[in-house]
Symmetry: C2
Subunit: 229 residues, 2 copies
DNA sequence: CGCTTTATGGACCGATGTTCCATAAGGAGT
DNA sequence: ACTCCTTATGGAACATCGGTCCATAAAGCG
C-alpha cells in the first residue's frame, strides 16, 4: 500500500511522505550505528517502511547518498555562529577544530568529504576559510592557493586520523590497537627504523586531537610569518 | 588443470606459480586500468589463469589486497636513494613531493594509505620523516607529534587532491570538471559566498601540485620558526 | 612408496546495488 | 465529474560481487 504523497495545501510535504532530507537523516543514523558496510538500501528501506526502489526516486545512487550524508555531518561544524571579533588566525583555528570535532563524532564521514567542494557545506567551509585568509594581509593572488591548502589540511588530515576508527569497532579498541601497533614497531630492526623503534611509548600515549592541532598550528604559524614578514 | 606449484630446488618459486607479489602486481595493473570498482577477484583470477578461490590462499580478503597494492605504490617514492647532505627542511620537502608524485600516478591508491602505519612502506615513510625532524633541533618530546603531523599532511592532502581523479575517468576530463565547478560557483549568491564567487578563475587555472606544495611550505616554514626561534 | 603439506580452481552461497514496472494518489484542464 | 498527467511508491527481478567449500593434485619427506 503506497503511502500518501504530494504536497499538502500549505506547500509542505505530508508528514509520512519520503524526502531527500528524511532519507539522508535515516542513512546517517544507520551509518553511525553500523558503519559504511552496514548501510544497505534494503535495510534503509525497511527503516523507512518502504521498498528500495522508492529511495532511488530521491537519490540517484549510494555514492550520492553517502556524499550527502557526509556533507550534512560537515555542516554540524557551522551550527554555532562564527565569533565576531577575533584575529584571522584564531578564527581559522577555531573553524578547523570545529570541523575535526564534527567529523570525529561520525567517523564514517571523514573519508567522504571531497575536493574541490561541490556540496553545500563543503562550499561554506572553503568560503569561510577564504574570507578569513583575505583578512591576513596576504597578497590577493595567493588567497586561493593558501585557502585551499588550509581546507585540504583540515579535511585531509581529519580523514587520516579519524577514518581508521570507522573500520575498527568501538572506542575501547583504540588502546588495544595502539598497543598492538606499538608492539609491532618494537620488533622492527632499529638499523632500518631508528625513529619508530624509539617512539613507541609516544604512539601508545598520544592524543588524536593534539596531533591534528600540532600540524594545524605549524601551518598557521607559517601563514602568519608569510603574511607579516 | 592445476598449475605447477611449490618451490623449485633452488628455493625460488617456479615461474608460473602464484605468489602474493604476483597477485598484488596484477591487482595494481587492473586498478590502474579500471579503477577500484573494476578490480574483481573473478577478473583478477582470469588474468592470472586461475580461479578466485586460489587467490584467497595468498590474500585474506579484498581490503588487504588493496592495502598491499597501495603500500606497494607508496614504495615507489623510495626508489631513489635519499640525497645525502641537505637541510632537514629540504629533505622533508623532497620526500613529500616524491610521495605526492608516486600517488599521483596511481590515483586509486591515494585514499588507501592509512594511519597509523602498519605496512612496510608506510612505516618507512614515517621513519624517514622522524629522522629528518630529529635533525631540526626541535626538542625530543615533540618529535612524535610533529613527525606524524607531517606524515598526515603528506598522505591526507595528497588523498584529497588526487582521489577525485580516481572516480572521474581520464585526465582530459579535468578541465571540463573544473569548468563545470567554476560555473557552479559563479551562480552562487555573493552575499552567502563572497570568497568563492570571486575566485572562480583561480579554480580553473590552478595546478594541483602547486596546491600541495603551498600548504607544505607553510607547514615547513612553521616548523622552521618553531625549531629556530 | 604412502603420508603430509601446500596449493589450486571451479562450484556455490548469500548479499548487494540497481533497474523495472505495475500501481496509486494528487493536480490541472475541461 | 471525468480524463490525463505528473509524482511517487514498493516489491520483484537481474546481474554481479566477495567469500567459502571442497575435491583434487603436485611436491616434499620419510
Amino acid at each position: 500500500m503506497p503511502r500518501t504523497r504530494g504536497r499538502a495545501p500549505d506547500g509542505k510535504w505530508r508528514a509520512d511522505a519520503l524526502s531527500r532530507e528524511i532519507i539522508v537523516g535515516a542513512a546517517i543514523a544507520l551509518l553511525d550505528e553500523l558503519g559504511e558496510r552496514g548501510l544497505t538500501f534494503r535495510l534503509l528501506a525497511k527503516q523507512l517502511n518502504t521498498g528500495p526502489g522508492a529511495l532511488y526516486w530521491h537519490v540517484t545512487n549510494k555514492d550520492e547518498l553517502v556524499a550527502l550524508a557526509a556533507d550534512e555531518v560537515l555542516g554540524h561544524a557551522f551550527t554555532a555562529p562564527p565569533p565576531p571579533e577575533e584575529s584571522a588566525g584564531a578564527g581559522l583555528r577555531a573553524l578547523a577544530i570545529a570541523v575535526f570535532d564534527a567529523l570525529d563524532q561520525h567517523p564514517w564521514a571523514a573519508s567522504h568529504v571531497n575536493a574541490p567542494p561541490t556540496l553545500a557545506n563543503a562550499l561554506r567551509l572553503l568560503d569561510r576559510i577564504g574570507t578569513l585568509v583575505a583578512r591576513t594581509g596576504l597578497p590577493a593572488e595567493r588567497h586561493f592557493a593558501v585557502s585551499t591548502a588550509i581546507s585540504y589540511y583540515i579535511t585531509g588530515v581529519s580523514a587520516q586520523i579519524i577514518a581508521p576508527r570507522a573500520t575498527a569497532v568501538a572506542a575501547t579498541d583504540r588502546d588495544a590497537f595502539l598497543a598492538q601497533t606499538a608492539e609491532h614497531w618494537e620488533k622492527l630492526d632499529p638499523a632500518d627504523y631508528p625513529f619508530l623503534t624509539r617512539t613507541t611509548t609516544d604512539l601508545r600515549d598520544h592524543d588524536d586531537r593534539d596531533q591534528f592541532t600540532t600540524g594545524l598550528d605549524l601551518l598557521l604559524d607559517g601563514l602568519n610569518t608569510t603574511a607579516n614578514p
